[in-house]
């Protein structure tokens, strides 16, 4: 999923900003590191034969000039960082090829029309809940060219939502909701993984986002909802028959209140 020496080739505007920031920062810090390492190593090369040390000390004006140069560098990078952060976290409106009838409960400009999906982390699986109440595990299906806003939370321990091609990480923290967004430019499947240690099943806590055309998405939602209903009906029937393994039917009497001592 990687693009050579950069993390995943981006397919979402936010991920493109991340990619830009990454390349700029790698170049700057690489140049800085090469200059400093080069300066250090060239300072000791061939000096062994020097008869006497020069015993030079720096003047404070020289030190001030070096500090000023570094300050300017830090300030430029800081401004650049703010611009890229703002730009990568600004939700872009759904495009003309996207799902124009997307449903949302978010108060977002009407022309944005984002698709709002609840992402819930649990040991060691992701659960996605779509606006119509349909849900799926591990694989999230979304329409192409549609702004997708994720509400990320956890029901147990810390997890991190991260699909590199679609943008940066967002932690799933129990008790608070985190936001992320993407708008996939192209169809396809994109792999992701959790990056916060969450216990013995942590390495298998992977995620996949499959981007499809809007009509395919609608069709998928339909079959997914049917499948869920069928499965739930089957389980309910099995429970009522008493044939479900490990499940005992609760009678009305003893459900609910616990006896108080």
């Amino acid at each position: 999923m990687a693009g050579g020496l950069t993390p995943a080739s981006p397919v979402s505007p936010g991920a493109e900003d991340t990619q830009t920031a990454y390349i700029v920062m790698v170049v700057i810090s690489l140049l800085l590191a090469i200059a400093l390492v080069g300066g250090l190593l060239s300072a000791v090369r061939g000096r062994g034969a020097a008869p006497e040390p020069r015993r030079t000390r720096g003047t404070s004006s020289l030190q001030t000039r070096v500090a000023a140069g570094l300050s300017v560098l830090a300030l430029i990078v800081f401004v650049f960082g703010i611009v890229m952060t703002e730009s990568s976290s600004e939700v872009e409106g759904t495009g003309p090829d996207g799902l124009l009838t997307a449903q949302t409960d978010l108060q977002i400009p009407a022309d944005a029309k984002p698709l709002n999906i609840r992402v819930s982390g649990q040991q060691w699986l992701w659960r996605y809940e779509y606006p119509d109440g349909t849900f799926s595990y591990y694989e999230m299906v979304v329409p192409v060219d549609t702004a997708v806003v994720l509400d990320i939370e956890s029901i147990d321990v810390l997890h991190t939502w991260w699909v590199p091609a679609l943008g940066g990480m967002a932690d799933a923290v129990p008790g608070s909701s985190n936001k992320a967004w993407f708008k996939a430019d192209e169809t396809g499947s994109f792999e992701g993984t959790s990056t916060t240690f969450s216990g013995p099943g942590y390495p298998v806590m992977r995620a996949r986002v499959t981007v499809v055309e809007p009509d395919e998405y609608q069709a998928w939602l339909g079959t997914q909802a049917e499948g869920i209903q069928e499965a739930q009906a089957a389980v309910k029937a099995a429970v009522e028959d008493g044939t479900a393994p490990g499940v005992e039917l609760e009678t009305g009497g003893d459900s609910g209140e616990e006896p108080t001592p």
Binding site: G58, F78, W162, G175
Partner: protein, 641 residues
């Protein structure tokens, strides 16, 4: 050994009270009960190096599991135990205590102190640290923590970690943090109260400045971690709700507190290494620091900015944008002090006459790895970049570059540099070269492929990865690198153990350094100095040599290189005193103390000891009264004889 005693009278700089160094008790009991900062330092160093061996073993075991994808060599639960022990062992039990040991041993000598201000607190610090380490490793007898490097909540609470491993982890980390606080209290009191006459702040050597900064940092971050693990312990065992979601607590609170501490520890390791590297660069280029006050101020600024940037690893957490921008600002601003320090290192080396001895080799390697690691960390300080790379093997790699650079290479550089002062013997140079090559080669081979795997999307802390993700070859290379690194580390440990009793003997002034610790004998006696000189510049030992040379001009000393050739002077003085003493007072112990410099000359390096005692005319005893340390010895002879 009975050091010479004096009543103070009109000589307040003369030792008046002998610290109880456990004399009369034997062997290990004497070492364990000693209040001597040098004994405490030696115990710190030995224990830290033992834990380094443990950390390397853990790393190798984890990398064996990661050689091939989907391996089942080590069970996931076992891997998680190794992982949970690795982080605290490598940083809390090795890197920081190694530097604390060196600080405890060397800093009082550097500032011309006869003892630390609170010797028992110093000893308490060591024993608390040891108990903390044993608590963490004791849990391996039953069932250790499996909650990851930082034991983040809620994974580490009693719902998800039911065994008492996390309790042992929390107690151990809390004890170690407490030990760091004890250490800091003593060291701050020592550098504030016990400096030699004339040793004003601008003349305090840079390693001692680093020690002061490190102590203040530990004093601030230590209690934070103690509070964090105490609340964790209460949550786990006494129904606390500090970190309980829905009860008014928050798991992120622990993450903040723990990251303040661990970010601070990262800063402590790097600042300690920067102090040691500065001293080594100055000594081995025979140059004064290009900007001593700039480096000192920059180290302080780096520590402040570094600790304030603790949220640099939390960009993906639900935190308001304003806090993240503040974090980005301070993290990016850290390039100013770090860049200034490295600029000053380059300038110090550039004009110098360098000699590539083991300490300089290790210090250069340390500087290079610190630069690479800090540059990578700096790039990740930009929020979108951090959100893409945090907690991947890229970030893991940058942390390992910086901490292997500062902790292992920087720590070893300091160890090679001060080993002659601590033991009176040099560490072997050929083993040092082998060890250095293996460590730097192994680190590059381990980290760079791991970072490429990180760019393929490999997260940290995983016990397996999958063959369809294209990281297999990178992980194979990375594991090979870890094995080479481990071999390199073990070579230096073997070198230290072998040289402790059998190394080439070193004189007091092993490398021609200009700071006061080289003015004391090697190893220094319990009271450190017979006489503490007045300090008149930031190169006090150089001043002493100059004074000796001025008073000896009528002896037609060779003009070149004598200023950096202290041994012959000291030897001539020491030898003559020893001879006098041997003639007048056949005390074998006193003779042994005074004869030390003579032995040192045989092991002293010719580069610094270009002249030998043979250059002096027969029968002349140059400068025996000019050399402060020996003047005191002369005075001793008075009452004895």
């Amino acid at each position: 050994m009975t050091p010479p005693l004096h009543t103070a009278g009109s000589h307040p700089e003369v030792v008046t009270e002998l610290l109880d160094d456990g004399a009369g008790r034997s062997g290990s009991v004497q070492l364990a009960t000693s209040g001597d900062h040098k004994a405490v330092g030696r115990m710190f160093i030995a224990t830290a190096l033992t834990f380094l061996a443990a950390a390397v073993t853990l790393l190798v075991a984890m990398r064996i599991q990661l050689i091939i994808p989907e391996a089942t060599i080590i069970r996931p639960a076992i891997f998680d135990r190794l992982l949970s022990a690795y982080g605290v062992t490598s940083v809390l039990l090795f890197a920081v205590p190694l530097f604390l040991g060196l600080i405890s041993h060397i800093v009082p000598l550097q500032i011309g102190a006869r003892a630390v201000a609170l010797p028992r607190v110093n000893a308490l610090s060591y024993w608390t640290y040891l108990m903390g380490g044993l608590t963490i490793y004791g849990s391996f007898l039953w069932r250790p923590a499996e909650a990851g490097t930082f034991a983040l909540l809620p994974l580490s609470d009693n719902v998800f970690s039911t065994s008492h491993g996390v309790d042992a982890w929390a107690c151990g980390v809390g004890l170690v943090a407490l030990a760091f606080v004890f250490f800091a209290v003593n060291m701050i009191a020592t550098v504030r109260l016990n400096r030699a006459p004339g040793m004003v702040w601008r003349r305090v050597p840079l390693f001692s400045v680093a020690a002061t900064i490190v102590s203040y940092t530990l004093l601030i971050i230590g209690p934070i971690m103690i509070a964090a693990v105490t609340m964790l312990f209460i949550d786990r065992n006494f129904d606390g709700i500090f970190y309980e979601t829905g009860e008014g607590g928050a798991p992120l609170l622990y993450e903040h507190l723990a990251f303040i501490f661990f970010t601070g520890i990262y800063v402590v390791v790097i600042v300690s290494a920067m102090g040691a590297i500065s001293e080594i660069f100055s000594t081995f280029s025979r140059q004064p620091h290009f900007g001593q006050r700039t480096i000192a101020g920059s180290m302080a600024a780096f520590a402040v900015l570094g600790v304030l940037a603790w949220m640099q690893n939390m960009y993906s957490a639900p935190i308001a944008a304003g806090f993240l921008y503040f974090t980005m600002l301070v993290a990016l601003a850290a390039v100013i002090p770090a860049g200034l320090i490295i600029f000053n290192w380059i300038a110090t080396l550039r004009g110098g006459s360098t000699s590539m001895r083991p300490p300089l080799t290790f210090a250069l390697g340390a500087a290079v790895l610190i630069i690479i690691g800090l540059a990578g960390e700096w790039a990740q300080s930009v929020i979108p970049v951090g959100r893409q790379l945090d907690n991947t093997m890229v970030a893991w790699g940058d942390t390992h570059f910086a901490l292997i650079g500062a902790g292992v290479l920087g720590g070893f550089a300091a160890l090679y540099y001060w080993f002659p002062k601590i033991t009176g013997r040099y560490m072997g140079a050929s083993l040092a070269r082998l060890s250095f090559g293996a460590i730097i080669g192994g680190t590059l081979l381990m980290v760079i492929p791991a970072q490429l795997a990180g760019l393929e999307g490999m997260p940290v802390d995983v016990y397996e990865y999958f063959s369809d993700t294209g990281m297999s070859f990178y992980n194979l290379l990375s594991s090979l690198g870890a094995f080479v690194l481990a071999a390199g580390v073990l070579l230096t440990l073997v070198n230290a153990a072998a040289s402790y009793n059998n190394g080439t003997e070193a004189g007091p002034d092993a490398w021609g350094g200009d700071t006061l610790e080289w003015f004391a004998l090697s190893p220094a006696p319990p009271h450190n100095f017979d006489l503490v000189p007045d300090v008149r510049s930031n190169e006090p030992y150089r001043d002493i040599r100059e004074a000796v040379r001025r008073r000896s001009t009528d002896l037609q000393l060779p003009p070149a290189r004598t200023e950096s050739a202290p041994e012959p002077v000291a030897v001539a003085a020491g030898e003559s005193v020893a001879e006098e003493q041997a003639a007048s007072e056949p005390d074998p112990e006193a003779a042994a103390v005074e004869a030390e410099p003579e032995d040192g000359d045989t092991g002293a390096e010719q580069e610094f000891g270009g002249t030998s005692e043979l250059d002096y005319p027969e029968g002349e005893e140059p400068a025996s009264e000019a050399d402060g340390g020996e003047t005191e010895a002369d005075e001793d002879d008075g009452p004895v004889a």
